[in-house]
């Protein structure tokens, strides 16, 4: 269990002071730290690692105090027993893969050292890279080496700062699998920082959402990121459709309220909230939660059916990104198969179908 309670203020010339204010316990296993860039994710890891000193607070690893401002304790990074994979990976460019990985094992006998290196090279499937230098490695290989280097010392905490950015899904999944196998027998807290929604889902564990230096939400990814309660979080979680809207009326009997999207005639039924008629709310709708129909559908439970016109169609890998004008501009995601069977082209007249509960009311922060 890693206990963190820290405050750190940054005074940058011109910009408003940024403040990191965290109080959180990290249990053994993965915790994803999710948030937009600039939220303070890397700073939090640096404070835990001891590379940055907080202004006040405590960092404790089980019974061992790593940092305590009041008791004037600040354990140096090299004595904390924490593994850290930086976003830039920071491999030692002048050492071979083997040299990089063995660097943290200085206190071991050569025989023990080479045995451990051998084992970790196998765990992360990088045996054949042993003699190579970092400049000659591919992105995925570098990431494997950086992970192997940081876990070989058997750290008591593992900090991972976007360690798998820039990799395609398959490679990312394979490396995560290796990491999971390694961590299965080791009950240590693993803090995994990312701003990528896909990585959150791939890890699928507890997620802590950091916005503007504070923890806004925590829980399972589905609970936290599928129904965001704050606008910044909705943006970070990749809600493609964000609208300001005004509440027209409450319909408690139906469990809904009618809202009108600002700057359009578009009206939607959204889950009943505590906002009064006349007040403004923010709506967040996932592009993948919107259905498209080429004829006016009937007999549906969905309460919102809006006529619109397809503006642009763009295929992005296994997903098609549509812009549909229906009073306001909606982003809609469908599969290439759906696009074909519906025969959609720019200019097609369509109906957008939105479930009430796909329309998330978020607070404008």
């Amino acid at each position: 269990m890693l206990f963190v309670e820290i405050e750190k203020q940054f005074r940058t010339a011109g910009a408003a002071a940024f403040q990191l204010h965290i109080q959180e316990e990290f249990p053994p296993g993965f915790t994803v730290i999710f948030g937009p860039s600039g939220a303070g994710k890397s700073t939090l890891l640096d404070c835990i690692a001891g590379l940055i000193s907080p202004d006040k607070g405590k960092v404790r690893l089980r019974e061992k105090v790593l940092y305590d401002r009041d008791q004037n304790i600040c354990v140096a990074p090299q004595h904390r027993g924490i593994g850290y994979v930086f976003q830039s990976l920071a491999l030692f460019p002048h050492l071979s893969v083997e040299g990089n990985i063995a660097f943290g094992l200085a206190k071991f006998q050569p025989a023990e050292r080479s045995e451990r290196v051998q084992r970790i090279l196998e765990t992360f499937h990088i045996e054949r890279l042993r003699q190579r230098k970092p400049p000659d490695l591919s992105g995925g290989e570098k990431q494997r080496v950086a992970l192997a280097r940081s876990v070989i010392t058997e750290p008591a905490v593992l900090l991972l700062d976007e360690p798998l950015t820039g990799l395609d899904q398959g490679l990312r999944r394979a490396i995560l699998e290796d990491l999971r196998n390694w961590s299965a027998e080791r009950p240590i807290p693993i803090l995994y920082v990312t701003h990528n929604r896909e990585e959150v889902d791939a890890i699928g564990h507890r997620v802590v959402v950091l916005v503007d230096g504070r923890i806004r939400e925590k829980g399972l990814p589905r609970q936290v990121l599928d129904a965001p309660r704050a606008l910044a979080l909705a943006q970070a979680a990749g809600f493609e459709n964000l609208f300001a809207a005004r509440v027209i009326e409450h319909r408690p009997a139906d469990g809904v309220m009618r809202v009108s999207v600002d700057g359009s005639h578009c009206e939607l039924e959204v889950p009943l909230g505590t906002v009064h008629p006349g007040e403004t709310i923010q709506l967040a709708i996932r592009a993948g939660d919107i259905l498209i129909a080429t004829q006016l559908p009937y007999g549906l439970s969905a309460r919102n059916v809006l006529p619109g016109t397809v503006q642009t169609i763009e295929t992005r890998g296994t997903m098609v990104h549509l812009e549909v004008h229906a009073g306001v501009r909606f982003i809609v995601h469908v599969t290439p198969g759906a696009l074909r069977s519906l025969d959609l082209v720019a200019g097609s007249v369509v109906w957008l179908v939105l479930k009430t509960h796909s329309c998330h009311v978020v607070a404008a922060d």
Binding site: A49, L51, A76, P77, Q78, H79, G81, I82, G83, Y84, F86, S88, A90, L91, F92, P93, H94, F103, G104, A106, K107, K133, P135, D136, R149, S150, T153
Partner: protein, 224 residues
């Protein structure tokens, strides 16, 4: 060409370059990584020999090293002979004179290192010493070579400081640059030219090494 003067100059330059490296490594480390706000004062102090006329430097060095100077008195008390007009005195004054040439390349190369690489070393449990010798120095290798080579070359070619502190004693303090001056005074233009040309060639070779290393024409690390 005076072989004796040449050998003396080489001995002086090698000694100074070696001693300066030992002195400059920890100082440059401190200058590059300290968070002290008064650091700029130390930097200005280090750069001082760059702008002062060698005679000013030589004058103060002479005062300090002379029998009434602090260093000179201490030295004489310890070893029983004066410091001024000796080879040792010359080494001390030359170190002062070439100091920025040894320190600044090191500071520059330390400062341009990727901080995250140094952080990575700390996170892997390396002490400051281990990080310094296993990571910082190997990665700042061009800066180390530049510092050594420049302080060597700069010492080889010095004139004013040597004249002030060392005088012109054959075999003890008469270096090549003094030798050239002597020959020109004696209208021995052929002899002066031989020595001068030699210095010119050596200086060019030495600077080629510096620029080659910094352009990474030769690098012991990356395979590329």
């Amino acid at each position: 060409m005076s072989v004796e003067a040449l050998l003396l100059s080489l001995r002086l330059a090698c000694t100074v370059a070696a001693l300066l490296l030992l002195l400059a490594l920890p100082l440059a480390y401190w200058l590059a990584f300290t968070a002290w706000r008064g650091k700029f004062l130390a930097e200005a102090l280090v750069a001082l020999p760059l702008v002062l006329p060698p005679t000013v430097l030589g004058f103060y060095a002479l005062v300090a090293l002379g029998p009434r100077g602090v260093l000179g008195k201490l030295w004489e008390g310890l070893f029983g002979h004066p410091l001024a007009f000796t080879f040792t005195g010359l080494v001390l004054a030359s170190m002062l004179y070439s100091f920025p040439f040894a320190v600044q390349p090191l500071v520059n190369s330390f400062e341009s290192l990727d901080r995250r690489v140094l952080d990575a070393s700390s996170m892997l449990g390396a002490s400051r010493m281990r990080s310094f010798f296993r990571i910082i120095v190997p990665l700042a290798w061009p800066g180390v070579v530049t510092g050594v080579v420049l302080s060597f070359a700069h010492t080889l070619g010095e004139f004013g400081v040597v004249l002030m502190v060392g005088g012109n004693l054959e075999g003890i303090t008469r270096t090549v640059s003094i030798d050239i001056y002597d020959r020109v005074q004696a209208l021995d233009y052929v002899g002066a030219n031989q020595t001068a040309l030699f210095l010119l060639v050596v200086s060019f070779a030495v600077l080629s090494v510096v620029y080659g290393v910094n352009r990474r024409v030769w690098s012991p690390w990356s395979g590329r």
